[in-house]
């Protein structure tokens, strides 16, 4: 799983930080999303997908690994 963020789209609502605090944080100066871990472990999959789903600005996308 690979996580992408778009800081230009981010509106700093912070819901990703509540869903997956090990993966997302907010920048001190303006509250915009920062990625703590672009390739989080599989056990965080649900939390990361939830963060992407509830992001109001569609600033988070999740790339799933190809099935082998």
């Amino acid at each position: 799983m690979r996580v992408h963020i778009d800081q230009d789209k981010c509106c700093g609502a912070g819901s990703c930080v509540l869903s997956a605090p090990d993966v997302f944080d907010q920048r001190e100066e303006d509250g915009i999303v920062v990625l703590l871990n672009a390739e989080p472990p599989a056990e965080l999959r649900e939390a990361v997908q939830e963060a992407a789903a509830i992001c109001p600005a569609a600033a988070i996308s999740v790339e799933q690994p190809e099935r082998v």
Binding site: K9, C11, G12, A13, G14, S15, V17, L18, S19, D25, Q26, R27, E28, E29, D30, G31, I32, E50, A53, I54, P56, A57, A58
Partner: protein, 412 residues
């Protein structure tokens, strides 16, 4: 079909037009004060994108489904700019308020983003979580005072309203002793019954007060938000006052009403109240569920289409107004099975009670901290809490832009 042709053709001629246009704001059924108005619930079931008529006789689209509401609010082709001709206003006062001094709530990017980003750091999750000890202290002090030597009180006046007012005053740098002044003005601004003149006067008085405050911060800066907005040097005192007005009102009216209405909803659902009291670890999820179930921004969010856009099988034309009803979206069975019931164990995180899109509530991390602490503490400290008047006599805020109760007499 153009809007003119559509009006010419009358009802029942196109997609989204088989139901008669619904009058907004729609009235709730007496005896079901937690449920959306039957008219909007019918639209959700039968014609999720439908025509509606506003208070001033103008018409707009009503968008009711969870997925469609998210699409509209998340789509930059739907503008929040209230100065665009045809923008749907939900009350006369609302039009007056927005048309004269628009806040970032009714602007589009990039101007909206520029202003919002001056504030996002102040309400970020880490900072609001760090407020927990202070919010807990204020909560305990208010409850100490409310319960000392007494067994009944109005929960709104003595707890639900002062708590978020104290907190937002602290964050903004507004003296709390002025709370009666700004709470009175704020009630006028949010009342659906206020006339244009009343709204204009209340708005002027509030802005004058905040301009004076901003000026005084120029002389004696502090570490709170208004002072820091001034010291950035990008906004004049009047612009800071407009932003301060938004934060002051949004910061206390919303959480105050959610706190009181949540308490009442729990008292009316004693099984859910008992579950939450027995297992306080449910509090975070329970607050999300209460936000979903109660959706106090009950008249919906207005937008205007800037391009032709298809929503739920209906083409909304450029220039047409849209109202997204958050309360029906949060009762959409496709997203929340059993949506009509309160279930504190539900995963309700996808609710749109804070809105959706780039305008989604900036203060939501603060609201969550306040609601979690207020409700958990209230249930823990007052195990015998009960309603002190017949349920039928509770004064619900049907007349206000933010739903809730005007007063909540309780005993313990």
């Amino acid at each position: 079909m153009t809007t003119a042709e559509r009006i010419e053709a009358g009802p029942g001629t196109g997609p989204g037009e088989s139901l008669p246009p619904l009058d907004l704001p729609a009235a709730r059924t007496a005896g079901c004060p937690f449920d959306p108005a039957p008219g909007v619930e019918r639209a959700l079931r039968e014609e999720p994108v439908t025509r509606a008529t506003l208070w001033d006789g103008s018409s707009c689209w009503l968008v009711t489904r969870h997925q469609d509401v998210r699409e509209v609010l998340g789509d930059p082709r739907f503008s929040a700019d209230a100065t665009r001709p045809g923008f749907p206003f939900l009350s006369a006062g609302g039009r007056e308020l927005i048309a004269t001094k628009p806040t970032l709530l009714r602007m589009d990017d990039p101007e909206h983003a520029r202003l919002r980003r001056m504030l996002t750091a102040d309400f970020m999750v880490k900072k609001m979580e760090a407020m927990r000890p202070e919010v807990q202290r204020l909560t305990d002090e208010l409850l100490d005072r409310m319960t000392e030597g007494r067994t009944s009180a109005d929960l709104v006046a003595e707890f639900a309203l002062p708590l978020p007012s104290l907190v937002i005053c602290l964050l903004l740098g507004v003296p709390y002793e002025d709370h009666e002044f700004f709470q009175e003005r704020s009630s006028i601004l949010l009342s659906l019954r206020s006339t244009r003149e009343e709204v204009r006067a209340a708005q002027d008085e509030l802005l004058e007060y905040l301009v004076r405050l901003a000026e005084s911060k120029r002389q004696r800066p502090d570490d709170a938000i208004i002072s820091r907005l001034i010291s950035r040097g990008e906004l004049n005192s009047s612009e800071v006052a407009t932003m301060g007005r938004l934060l002051l009102i949004a910061g206390h009216e919303t959480t105050a009403n959610m706190t009181a209405l949540s308490t009442l909803a729990l008292l009316r659902n004693p099984d859910q109240l008992a579950r939450l009291r027995d297992d306080p670890s449910l509090i975070k999820g329970a607050v999300e569920e209460l936000l979903r179930y109660l959706t106090i921004v009950h008249n919906g969010l207005p937008r205007i289409a800037t391009k032709d856009v298809r929503v739920g099988g209906v083409t909304i034309r450029a220039g047409e107004g849209v109202v997204c009803t958050l309360n029906t979206a949060n009762r959409d069975e496709d997203t929340f099975p059993g949506a009509g019931g309160l279930d504190v164990g539900r995963d309700a995180r996808r609710h749109v009670a804070f809105g959706f899109g780039v305008h989604q509530c900036l203060g939501q991390p603060l609201a969550r901290v306040e609601l979690q602490i207020a409700l958990e503490t209230l249930l823990r400290r007052l195990p015998g809490l009960r309603l002190d008047i017949p349920f039928e006599d509770v004064p619900f805020r049907h007349d206000m832009g933010i739903y809730g109760v005007h007063a909540l007499p309780v005993a313990w």
